[in-house]
């Protein structure tokens, strides 16, 4: 069995995240995003590539049979933007899962986008407000860490991802195979959100974002100070600050930052939110406060951090009003809409300031402003805007940096990693690091490629009571390590077990005694024996006829010479090593004596040994040691040479 990952979007690029994963007969779509940089068919993932997508077409539900569920990680448009199109236009009717905040906030993002596209750009709409509402009705909201049973075989679970309110990494398990799709995540906490959190999971695959595949970021605080300084300088010079953001996420984070600063510096300059949208968004943030950072969570009963005191609504008529102000306007990246309108008015004045997010999609005005310092920007073939204002690029980002990605992957230690949501050359570098530093297979497929990896499967064997009981108790075995002086500890709990495959029955594991009972057989032992003389020379000693003397002598020698992880036990009357049993044979004729040794019996001591076949190696090793036995080790060395 294999896990097939079809990358429909965000393969070696950022935008329209969409991965369709088939595991053990189940097919899950992770994210259903749109690309902000395109206006043609390339803005949506190419859904027609989904295997078997049109099998159900006759019944009018093209994708219902092809996909078991959709999982949306967070409310950003490059992750959820194509969802209403897919459900309402393409006709997918199956379950859709997202966290509570994502379900609450996605419609706001989608509606905002729709308005920008239709009302301002005058485009033909891809989906209507009703589509958005209908689509959201199909969404099942989940809480973090809940194990959701999508159907009998498919289990999913959300983990906190930081990034934006409600962002989650999703774990999915089908049968014995499990994967994690990270979506976008942040490994360090910020002003309003905590850091990503995950359990140690057994995973076949991790699909990770890699926006900052090669960047290592230091503390955020210095960069937050830079931002505040730039804003403060602008307003004290009587300028206006335009902060183009999306309605949700960055707007709230920066607003908490500014509120805090306004409070500390006792500033009175107004902070505006464009349209009612963002103010309404704050309402959601207030209710969803348990998804924010620890610090904000703890103080909600006295003061909800999203009750902004300095924030007011902005009216279009105020664009050209005199005096300093700070304005949050949608959309981010100045891709159109109100932020573009304000940009046109404010950009020509050098007193003003425009802040830009850390990442802008190619094709947007934000992207143009970031690349170089243009003095003029062409909006279309007829209009252009002089840009004399200051530009401040926000260098803090809600994405994890390269260290964070490496840390997460190292912590999870999956069998395979697929990188998405990044820039091709940087992803290749990160892929190399994952393979060389962590020794994990890593892939960075392009859009519309499929990656296949093997999946885990278990044979499930019924364990007998006796075996199960013996499994509950550790059965430690200590061996002297052959390589060093240390003790080697092995747990032999399972080695008594025998796996039995019987036709048309479940596999069984039982203890060996139970096997015999089942078969109605008796054990038949196989033992070896040997009685051999050890040359001791002609020594005169009062003790030479005492068996105890020889046993002590042999046992001391064996302990010295048999190093390979053997513990020699010296019992009264015999020496034992594992099943090997050695005693001094005083009989004149022993049934275990085979060789007719011509050696003088008076110069030999007979050792009578028995052992089980399993210990034959050690047995013969001991016997050969014993045969070479010499009272004086020095002489023996000499004779060996």
């Amino acid at each position: 069995m294999a896990i097939d990952c079809l990358i429909l979007g965000a393969g070696q690029e950022v935008g329209k995240s969409c991965v369709v994963v088939s595991i053990n007969g189940k097919r899950i779509m992770f994210d259903c995003g749109m690309h902000m940089g395109y206006l043609d068919h390339r803005r949506y993932p190419d859904f027609s590539r989904i295997p078997n997508y049109d099998q159900g077409r006759s019944s009018g539900s093209a994708f219902d049979h092809a996909i078991d569920c959709i999982i949306i990680t967070h409310f950003h448009l490059d992750h959820v933007g194509a969802l209403p199109y897919f459900t309402e236009v393409c006709g997918y009717r199956g379950p859709i899962y997202m966290t509570y905040p994502t379900k609450a906030l996605s419609p706001l993002m989608l509606e905002d986008y729709r308005k920008v596209m239709v009302e301002r750009r005058g485009e033909e709409e891809q989906f209507t407000s009703d589509h958005i509402a209908e689509c959201m009705k199909k969404v099942i909201a989940v809480d973090l860490k809940q194990t959701i049973q999508v159907d009998k075989d498919l289990q999913i679970r959300a983990y906190y991802a930081g990034h934006v309110l409600g962002a989650a990494m999703f774990y999915a398990k089908v049968g014995d195979s499990a994967i994690l799709y990270t979506g976008d995540y942040n490994m360090t906490p910020d002003r309003h959100l905590g850091a990503a959190q995950i359990d140690r999971l057994h995973l076949d695959l991790v699909i990770s974002e890699s926006t900052y595949a090669t960047t290592i970021r230091d503390s955020k605080y210095s960069r937050e100070r830079e931002f505040l300084k730039a804003v403060h300088e602008c307003i004290s010079g009587g300028g206006k600050v335009l902060i183009p953001t999306f309605a949700l996420g960055r707007a709230q984070e920066l607003c908490i930052l500014l509120e805090d600063y306004w409070e500390r510096m006792n500033l009175k300059v107004p902070i505006y939110f464009s349209a009612g949208l963002t103010i309404q968004a704050n309402m959601y943030y207030k209710m969803l406060i348990s998804w924010t950072s620890q610090r904000i969570k703890e103080t909600y009963s006295t003061h909800n951090a999203f009750d902004f005191k300095h924030v007011k609504d902005f009216e279009r008529s105020m664009i050209d009003a005199p005096g300093p102000c700070v304005l949050f306007a949608t959309p981010g990246m100045i891709s159109g809409g109100f932020s573009l309108e304000v940009f046109k008015h404010w950009a020509p004045s050098e007193k003003n300031l425009i802040t830009l997010p850390g990442y802008c999609v190619a094709g947007t005005i934000g992207h143009k402003l970031m690349s170089g310092k243009p003095s003029k920007i062409d909006l279309d073939k007829d209009t252009s805007v002089d840009v004399r204002c200051q530009i401040h690029q926000l260098s803090f980002s809600p994405h994890t940096d390269a260290k964070g990605i490496m840390d997460l992957i190292k912590f999870l230690s999956p069998k395979h990693v697929i990188l998405v949501h990044g820039e091709k050359p940087k992803m290749a570098t990160l892929k190399g690091r994952i393979q060389s530093e962590l020794g994990i297979h890593c892939y960075d497929p392009a859009n519309n490629e499929t990656v296949s990896i093997p999946s885990t499967q278990y044979v499930k064997a019924v364990a007998s009571d006796a075996f199960a009981r013996s499994c509950l108790n550790p059965n430690f075995k200590f061996l002297k390590s052959s390589s060093g002086n240390g003790l080697q500890v092995t747990d032999e709990r399972v080695s008594d077990g025998i796996l039995v495959l019987e036709k048309s029955q479940k596999p069984k594991v039982m203890q060996q005694d139970e096997l015999l009972l089942m078969l109605g057989e008796n054990e038949h032992k196989v033992e070896h024996s040997c009685c051999f003389p050890v040359h001791i020379g002609n020594i005169e000693s009062s003790e030479r006829s005492s068996t105890g003397f020889w046993l002590r002598l042999f046992s001391a020698r064996l302990s010295d010479e048999i190093s390979a992880g053997i513990i020699v036990q010296d019992f009264e009357g015999h020496i034992q090593v594992e099943s090997f049993h050695l005693s001094i044979c005083l009989k004149d004729s022993c049934s275990h004596r085979i060789t007719d040794d011509s050696q003088n019996k008076s110069e030999s001591v007979f050792c009578c040994c028995t052992w089980s076949v399993e210990d034959e190696k050690i047995a013969w090793k001991i016997i050969s040691t014993m045969k070479n036995f010499n009272l004086n080790p020095g002489q023996q060395d000499a004779s060996n040479n």
């Binding site: 860490k145 499967q457 061996l479 057989e521 085979i594």
Partner: protein
């Protein structure tokens, strides 16, 4: 060689046991059980019996308002007449209140408990007594919402008690244990039964209240969970809280263990007006259901008829929606009574503790008042009121579907935030808050939790209004109203006592079990009298208080072997041809309640190389053939009898070296001094024996 056996896990018991420590008493006093599975002891709920508070007198200065003759107390009143059947204030215990815990829990050594599962905020109120015990080290699992609500309830209890002490002075607490026998004996029968139990054994359960420090320490030991979050105890038990609908955060428990899957079902409500509904789908397919919903004992309807009245074919959904509309009617009735009182110039006192009822009544009463154009203030007086209300509007994930829909349309979950903003609802921490005194207006509607009517603001307000025949007191069912109201006599106030749903009504038990499909159900003994209409596909056990019930083995254990490891095994076909066997190799990994085999990370010195188990008996002919295949020739000496008197065949080997093979019934001994030959002979023997 040295073998070392360690018994690190206690999980060797083959059987599971269950002991019911207390059946409890309704919504506020949930039942309490101990379950022993896989050798781990799990305690379900540690409640307090707050109804027992009614034996105490409310704060003493109440008596100033009472008639001269009633002003007596235990110590001074020698002439208390035992024959008085009507209770009055002077019969009550005149002392700082003590709290009644589950007495049977004290019989258990706290250090033997491994896991504590708390099902509701009410099931948590006795927890600080347990966590402060010496040797207590169990893992406590609680849902996040229950932990928060339980904390607030305990804090309110501690603060109300402190307030009592402030009024009462620092007089020593008199537990019933501390009372003299004569004093106890002189109590009227109703009080005596509460204090002593049926045969005096309840006496041991009384405790002075824990402190705020105990509460804090207790909360630090708690591990919080989301609904449906799987947590693993000791690698063996997978524990999951599943919404029960009884209260915000309240839950049933699903426990998966190698010995079987168990569902613990406590008081559950199918459809709730505030909390997330009873999620019974998540309890499907468990081996055992431990049924611990005792609400049927307090319900009005007759046991048998209730159980059988509804045809089993009725869907749970339709039964439940009938319940919720009945519940709405009750709330509407309470509202209309409240409006009537206010219209007549009376005030309404609602000393209800159930958070769900408070939240819904706040909304409904203010709507009803608006509707009838009555502008009277609503007060919510409790030391934790503000925090409680703020909390309920930031936990949409824990609420019922309709409340969740409000989140998605951008409205607050409950209307109280808006009511506060509109100055219709006023929230105060205590009755003596200066803001309250400034703000106070009558008539009014007051919510002030403490349904036993012995602690907190309700005591003062009852004293104030008990003689006003236009005022209304709304009580929950499940409290002995006569006893509870005895200190406030003569009682002129109208009293409305309402029974609200607090568990699974009997007509839903059968349809529910039909969906859940367990193998075994353990019912309380009190349900024995009811009979199932049809033969059930599951077997039924009955348990009773303080008796241990043995639970049969629920399922066989399983060992999971990764495919890639299993394919490396060398299977042998036995002479019973349909059977293949192999010896299991690998390391055992016990995690998430599963036994898994993983390939050995470090290879132990490979000194053992041969199979260790053989059976059957080799015949000399086949052995000779097998030997000659290996270039060994020998002769059979014929049957001889060895020293033990068993038949032995002997094969003498001459080529390539001398050896002797003695084949007995249960053992074959190979004697040779030639290592190579010994190996080859072993091979030959194994080829003619079955082995693994």
């Amino acid at each position: 060689m040295c073998h070392c056996y360690g018994n690190f896990s206690t999980g060797i018991d083959s059987e599971s046991f269950q002991t019911c420590l207390s059946k409890g008493g309704g919504f506020h006093f949930p039942s309490c059980h101990i379950l022993s599975i896989c050798g781990f002891r799990i305690l379900f709920d540690v409640p307090l019996d707050l109804s027992a508070l009614t034996i105490f007198s409310p704060i003493p200065n109440d008596f100033d308002n009472l008639d001269e003759e009633n002003c007596g107390c235990l110590e001074s009143d020698k002439h208390r007449t035992l024959e008085t059947t009507t209770l009055n204030a002077r019969n009550l215990v005149y002392a700082e209140p003590c709290y009644k815990t589950v007495k049977n829990l004290h019989l258990w050594n706290a250090s033997f408990i491994d896991v504590v599962l708390i099902s509701s905020p009410m099931g948590m109120l006795g927890l600080p007594y347990l966590t402060r015990m010496k040797g207590f080290s169990a893992k406590i699992y609680v849902t996040e919402a229950t932990a928060k609500l339980g904390k607030l309830m305990m804090e309110d209890l501690v603060s109300s008690h402190m307030e009592y002490k402030r009024f009462y002075g620092d007089k020593e607490s008199v537990c019933p244990q501390g009372m003299k026998f004569e004093e106890l004996d002189q109590l009227p029968p109703t009080l005596k039964e509460i204090a002593l139990g049926k045969d005096g054994e309840d006496l041991g359960g009384w405790m002075p209240l824990y402190s705020a420090v105990d509460v804090n320490d207790c909360l630090k030991k708690v591990q919080t969970l989301k609904y449906l979050e799987e947590t693993c105890y000791n690698g063996t038990l997978i524990i999951k809280a599943v919404s029960s609908g009884a209260e915000i955060g309240a839950c049933n428990w699903a426990i998966n263990s190698p010995k079987g899957d168990i569902a613990f079902i406590t008081s559950s409500i199918f459809l709730s007006g505030h909390a997330m509904d009873f999620d019974y789908h998540a309890l499907k397919g468990n081996d055992l259901i431990l049924y611990s919903d005792f609400t049927f004992m307090h319900a009005m309807d007759d046991l048998d008829s209730g159980f059988n009245s509804a045809p089993v074919t009725d869907s749970i959904r339709s039964l439940a929606s009938a319940d919720i509309s009945e519940e709405r009617d009750k709330l509407a009735f309470v509202c209309s009574c409240a409006v009537d009182s206010v219209k007549n110039g009376g005030s309404v006192l609602i000393p209800i503790d159930r958070l769900g009822l408070i939240l819904q009544l706040l909304e409904e009463i203010s709507t009803a008042l608006d509707y009838s154009n009555m502008k009277v203030p609503i007060y919510f007086i409790s030391s934790v009121a503000k925090e409680l209300l703020a909390f309920t509007n930031v936990i949409p994930e824990w609420l019922c579907t309709e409340r969740q829909e409000k989140l998605f349309s951008g409205e607050p979950s409950f209307a109280h935030a808006e009511l506060i903003k509109q100055k219709k609802l006023h929230v105060f921490p205590a009755i003596y808050s200066p803001e309250l005194l400034m703000n106070w207006q009558e008539p009014c509607v007051v919510f002030c939790p403490n349904w036993s009517l012995r602690l907190g603001p309700v005591v003062h307000l009852l004293q104030r209004w008990c003689i006003d025949r236009n005022s209304l007191l709304v009580l929950e069912n499940g409290i002995d109203a006569q006893l509870a109201l005895s200190p406030y006599k003569p009682m002129e106030m109208k009293v409305l006592q309402c029974s609200f749903f607090s568990g699974i009504s009997l007509n839903k038990v059968q349809p529910l079990l039909k969906i859940l499909q367990p193998k075994i159900v353990a019912f309380p003994e009190d349900l024995r009298q009811i009979s199932f209409q049809e033969s059930t596909p599951f077997s039924i056990l009955h348990y009773s208080e303080n008796e241990t019930l043995a639970i049969p083995n629920l399922k066989s254990s399983e060992l999971e072997i990764p495919m890639e490891l299993a394919t490396q095994f060398h299977f042998k076909k036995l002479k019973q041809e349909h059977i293949n066997v192999t010896r299991v190799k690998g390391e055992l990994l016990v995690s998430n309640g599963k036994h898994q085999l993983i390939s050995e990370t470090k290879q132990a010195d490979q000194l053992k190389c041969r199979p260790v188990l053989c059976w059957g008996s080799p015949s000399t002919d086949t052995l000779l053939a097998a030997l000659s295949e290996r270039g060994i020739s020998g002769t059979v000496e014929g049957d001889t009898v060895d020293l033990e008197g068993e038949n032995v065949s002997v094969v003498h080997v001459h080529e390539p070296n001398r050896a002797c093979i003695k084949i007995g019934v249960a053992i074959t001994v190979v004697t040779t001094a030639d290592e190579d030959l010994a190996g080859r002979i072993s091979d030959a023997i194994y080829s003619v024996l079955d082995n693994a």
